[in-house]
Symmetry: C2
Subunit: 738 residues, 2 copies
């Protein structure tokens, strides 16, 4: 069924406007001239013309095209560094060239990846006096014959160390910093040192689980997906009957922490001439790590000895959860055999460009990764399908003679799954150009992970633009209301009366743009009811069961949700690329900062006061920033749109705002993160933190015997934050007033 | 005598054109409108109008005004952090306000400075069985009654540690890295560890002498100005008879190395809210350091024991130079008593702004420091007088209705002498704005240090603009030829057929602009014949004898040399502020890089080849850069000057070029220096080095037993250099092509 046939109120308006607009446009832009040189009458894109193109683009975008792309892309495994993945990159080059983009380039990088040894499979065993009595499954069971493919990579954790550790097993819940800390404080008798730990997936980034285990002295880490988090409705309500994970499913994933990108060329692009560290040099895990199914985990956990765990640590398996250490049978131990090797392979980014008509040196980037752990029908092919359809729609607009004011860059990244590798190498290679010229980066990774509502992560600067785009686009369920209305109804932010819009963490390719070079970023997707469900991901994430069948049956039967995301992608990018004045919310940033300051005071105010630390300077800087932002927005509203230098000036000021929050010195102990206001949480890379250096300085501060050093660090980080906010305010002030 | 009365051929043209121009201008700009909003016809500053203003500005500039300023400024000591210095800052605020600049601001910073204790003077003694038998002079002799003033600070080295070390004396020539290295290798019997070293001023920055001495284990450092370097023509040909240093003169100066600016707020502005390190925390000297006259040095050196020094180490005193250690009389030792204290005081920058008419968000900065060790008639008041007259000339142009296209900022810095403190704090506070908006920084410090020729240090990007300005300005000797012609004749660069133009070191306030944030910088001055004389500075540098009398009698009787420098300052700044297309030499940068690469190959090619290191990748990047620069300059020559977006685009690209050489990670072990192409030499802050990280990696490489680590570092630094050049090339490429 075509979505248009069910377009009612919202749809009628869209169609009517579109028909009218096509006529106008054919008249106006009828003869494409192919020119992209700056126009001598630069402000031709008036609001009314923008509106026409906006309607046309939304209308042109088709659900069945996306569906067909997702079907094709997920028809075989396409892991980073494999021939299938390269073929997909080349397919995009052909397609975008055929679409008539102004340029299309394939950008290779030689980077350190990791693969299991096909001749020596990874496994976890229970040994009895040294003899294996149980071995974890080497592959996930094939539950639908169509899912069978010899190119499926067995479950593994990328960048695990090699080795065959054997020892007592200890259960540490989710393996968070707090979990390890709780155990150390409350059960000092349970020795992690020299043990293998088993932890549940979820609640934080898996790399951090490994880091904390390593710091505690563990000799190996086993991860599994507990039914409480991944199979809540019983053993039957799982793939292929339902969206939950079956007991044979395993989540793959990287366990690299630290600087994203190629581990052996940190900070610089992995070009042939670049100097490379040894594969064992960088800060990759030093102990073996392996993921298993909850079916296999049950074997291990049911034999664990020691006391029963506290209630908060219990999972959903039908066993008694115990801490260990070790099994009830003292002859039994757990043993891991991990032979995953680190190899340099070539990965590919594909960059397609539409040259801007007026300001070709201003870039709006639309990005999505292409590599998948297995079939990746959700992650990332749902997004790749949308990127492909988005590109087609843009090319259609070019054909009727329209051209955006600014350049639009379509970016298909390689090797995101290993740690944002393709996008990071790109940002490293072009950091100077992008730092000066990139207007915004719009990411789509797993575009549809649920059927509840459209949603977004965004810098405060782009929130309003995302909301405005969502207001123009029909929602993915009935197409009767706007995506914005459904979002607002289902996930309201009670503090602001707007749809809840999360901050920018580090879970996908927006991270190098936002956290390294301060390019305003956002990430679009259709989500499940994450507030009610509280899941860390959709259940089959990174397993072999993430198939087209799964998407079609459990997430988006008619692909309308994909369509909604695609249309917001189109409209948001058009707005950013074509509006004379950039649609940035500077006062929104001020409001967000005030909110963050209130949060800091609420969480730490008493403790700060007790230690003689006052927030007055920071609040004063914040008030300056708020005033600067409000004055600036008034100035912008009065600007003469025909005065090119004035237009460029205020747009440059807005672009400089996000950059002003970048400290070249980086965050303490995390120099690759340079955004002083937002950063991935230091204890969970996936989630975002506000004022990260200050919050990190306060983390577990009471436990530290060296109170003076710790509190001096709090003062220092607060002073840097104060300076940074003041510095950001100055970017918005009258440009002749320092 | 007024200079105009001797203006011949060159002057006649200037005057004639000026008279004509005044008429045109009064007609055209007659009614000042006070407006600085962007014009709707932005390209009003046509070449012919530029030419008229250019002639007018040069003509308006008056030698006697500069002379009067220098006389006033040098009439009393004006050391950083003293009331006299603050009064000078306030005088500038009044003057510039009176001149009608659009805004004038006094910017205070609270920074760590250092002062001798008036009640406990610093001294160097010879002790005999613990009893002082000789004590160095506590002050410099007053040789002219006019030079007497109770505010003269006694000779000292700022940031010396306090203490009273006593021990054997060792003579280490100039105290360079090579000198200490030579002694360690050739005279291992002479133990620096536990000794006090005496070194000559000159050949490198005094802070490096202290650093090397400290690393060698010395417990104190004494510095003096040897007659070979500071009094070559005998004991009579000295102040007040000649320009050489008398035997009572002492060079003051800072011995801080490392990051410039306030030592206890590195990287951030010294605002009241900023977090401060302890005064003993930062990397300031840990041993006492003190400067003495060559009169006093003779007392110490004549009693030294040990072998006679090698010929290259001999100085100009009428004694036998010996290494030591210790005196010939074994009962005698050298003892220092240093009570200099580190104190936080307030310093002031004064910033005056003329708002740009078309691009107010582009800044041309003219800077000069204001603080002096004593009277500072040369350093910096010669420059301050010029800055003041420059400001007056600009204000006259405003009065006849002219206004530059871009904003012009006049910057008077505080506390340069302590380590570029005022300028560094300013750059740290406004790094985001300046990083994006500063077109160029033009420095004048000691504006007239000799009477030989006008000269300049400059980034390659600004060389041509400096030369072009010097072509329009009469020289300072006869006013019959251009400053350029005299410069070319007297200091030709045989490699290029142009006037020799040095690179940008770290000796003055251009350093934070150039090396921290990549603002194209230049430094203007009138010099002595440095090639023939080979001096490290003019002889009375930083002594009490640096007086107006000295300037008037030995450097520039009619102040025409000051006038020449002022006129180049005016013309160069006008060109940068008013030309539609920035007068930057991108291909000149390429040529300079090619030259630097040839130098690297000449100096290290054989050694590199022997160790399997090839320069092919770097050369290939260089060729790309050269091609990009040439293509870019062709593109620029074709540009439509009425197309504002195109004009801004190419200007932005040129501004981005110098920034592209900035690596946010900084140079190895010198993170505050971030320019990958040029840096102060790591063994001498005053002089510049090309490809500094590579050259440093190769320094004394043969002596290191760990050859593998050292050569890997060479490979790494070469790869970073290659990447940086490639990245710079990309800023000049077609903006739609990555």
């Amino acid at each position: 069924m075509k979505p248009q046939s069910r377009v009612f109120i919202f749809g009628l308006i869209v169609v009517g406007a579109a028909m009218l607009a096509i006529g106008i446009l054919i008249g106006q832009f009828g003869i494409p001239d192919g020119s992209c040189s700056a126009s001598s009458s630069p402000s031709t894109n008036t609001p009314s013309e923008n509106e026409t193109i906006s309607v046309l683009m939304i209308e042109e975008c088709q659900a069945e095209n996306i569906e067909e792309h997702v079907r094709q892309l997920s028809s075989r495994p396409h892991l980073a560094g494999t021939p299938a993945e390269k073929e997909n990159a080349e397919m995009l080059v052909s397609l975008w060239t055929e679409y008539g983009l102004d340029s299309v380039r394939l950008l290779p990088y030689d980077v350190l990846l990791a693969y299991p040894d096909p001749d020596n499979p990874n496994k976890v065993m229970i040994t009895d006096n040294g003899v294996a009595v149980f071995t974890s499954a080497l592959t996930e069971a094939v539950l639908r014959p169509e899912d069978n493919n010899t190119d499926v990579v067995p479950p593994f954790n990328a960048y695990s160390a090699q080795g065959e550790p054997e020892g007592p097993l200890v259960y540490v819940n989710y393996g968070t910093a707090d979990d390890f800390d709780w155990l150390a404080k409350n059960r000092p008798d349970i020795n992690i040192n020299g043990s293998i730990v088993i932890v549940k997936y979820g609640n934080n980034f898996r790399g951090q689980k490994v880091l904390h285990a390593q710091l505690a002295g563990a000799i190996g880490v086993i991860m599994y997906s507990d039914p409480n988090d991944y199979a809540r409705d019983g053993s039957e309500a799982v793939y292929q009957n339902d969206w939950w994970l079956p007991d044979t499913g395993v989540q793959r994933g990287t366990v690299k922490v630290g600087s994203p990108g190629d581990p052996i060329t940190p900070g610089y692009p992995a070009k042939p001439y670049m100097y490379r560290l040894n594969a064992s040099d960088p800060s990759l895990p030093t102990i073996p790590v392996h993921p298993i199914s909850y079916g296999d985990a049950q074997q291990l956990l049911s034999e664990l000895g020691g006391d029963e765990v506290q209630n908060a640590w219990k999972g959903g398996l039908n066993i008694t959860y115990r801490y260990g250490p070790g099994f009830t049978d003292p002859n039994r131990k757990v043993k891991m055999s991990i032979q995953t090797s680190r190899e340099i392979r070539t990965i590919y980014n594909v960059i397609g460009v539409i040259n801007g008509a007026v300001e070709p040196d201003r870039y709006v980037l639309l990005g999505n990764h292409r590599d998948a752990w297995v079939y990746g029908a959700v992650d990332p092919s749902s997004g790749t399908g949308i990127l492909m359809e988005t590109t087609r729609v843009y090319s259609q607009m070019l054909k009727i003679g329209w051209r955006p004011r600014r350049s639009v860059m379509f970016c298909s990244w390689g090797a995101e799954e290993y740690g944002l590798v393709g996008s990071t190498e790109f940002v490293e290679e072009y950091q100077k150009i992008l730092g000066e010229r990139a207007v915004a980066y719009i990411n789509i990774d797993s575009a549809v992970v649920g059927n509840f509502t459209f949603g977004a992560r965004a810098t405060p600067l782009l929130q309003q633009a995302v909301w405005d785009a969502a207001k123009k686009v029909p929602d993915g369920e009935t197409q009767e209301r706007s995506a914005y209305d459904v979002w607002l109804e289902r996930v309201p932010d009670p503090r602001t009366g707007t749809p809840f819009t999360a901050g920018i963490g580090s879970g996908s390719d927006y991270a190098p743009f936002m956290h390294r070079i301060g390019v305003p970023s956002t990430d679009l997707l259709y989500v499940y009811d994450f507030i009610r469900l509280g899941l860390s991901s959709y259940p089959v994430y990174h397993s072999v069961y993430e198939t087209f069948y799964y998407v079609k049956n459990f997430l988006d039967r008619n692909f309308w949700r994909h369509l909604t995301v695609a249309r917001v992608y189109l409209e948001l990018s058009r707005d950013l690329a074509d509006s004379v004045i950039l649609p940035f919310g500077c006062a929104d940033y001020a409001a967000k900062l005030q909110q963050a300051a209130q949060g800091l005071e609420r969480n730490f105010g008493v403790k700060l006061t007790q230690n003689g630390v006052v927030l007055d300077d920071m609040k004063s800087a914040l008030d300056n920033f708020t005033e600067s932002a409000q004055n600036f927005e008034m100035e912008v509203s009065d600007i003469d749109l025909n005065d090119a230098y004035a237009v460029r000036r205020v747009n440059d000021q807005m672009m400089q705002l996000e950059r002003a929050f970048i400290d070249p010195a980086g965050l303490p102990d995390r120099q690759w993160l340079r955004h002083v206001i937002f950063a991935p949480s230091s204890v969970d890379t996936y989630s975002g933190a506000e004022f990260p250096a200050v919050v990190d300085a306060l983390y577990l501060i009471d436990d530290d015997p060296d109170q003076e050093t710790r509190w001096n660090n709090v003062r220092k980080q607060l002073a840097i934050l104060t300076f940074t906010i003041q510095s950001a305010a100055s970017t918005l002030n009258d440009v002749t007033q320092l």
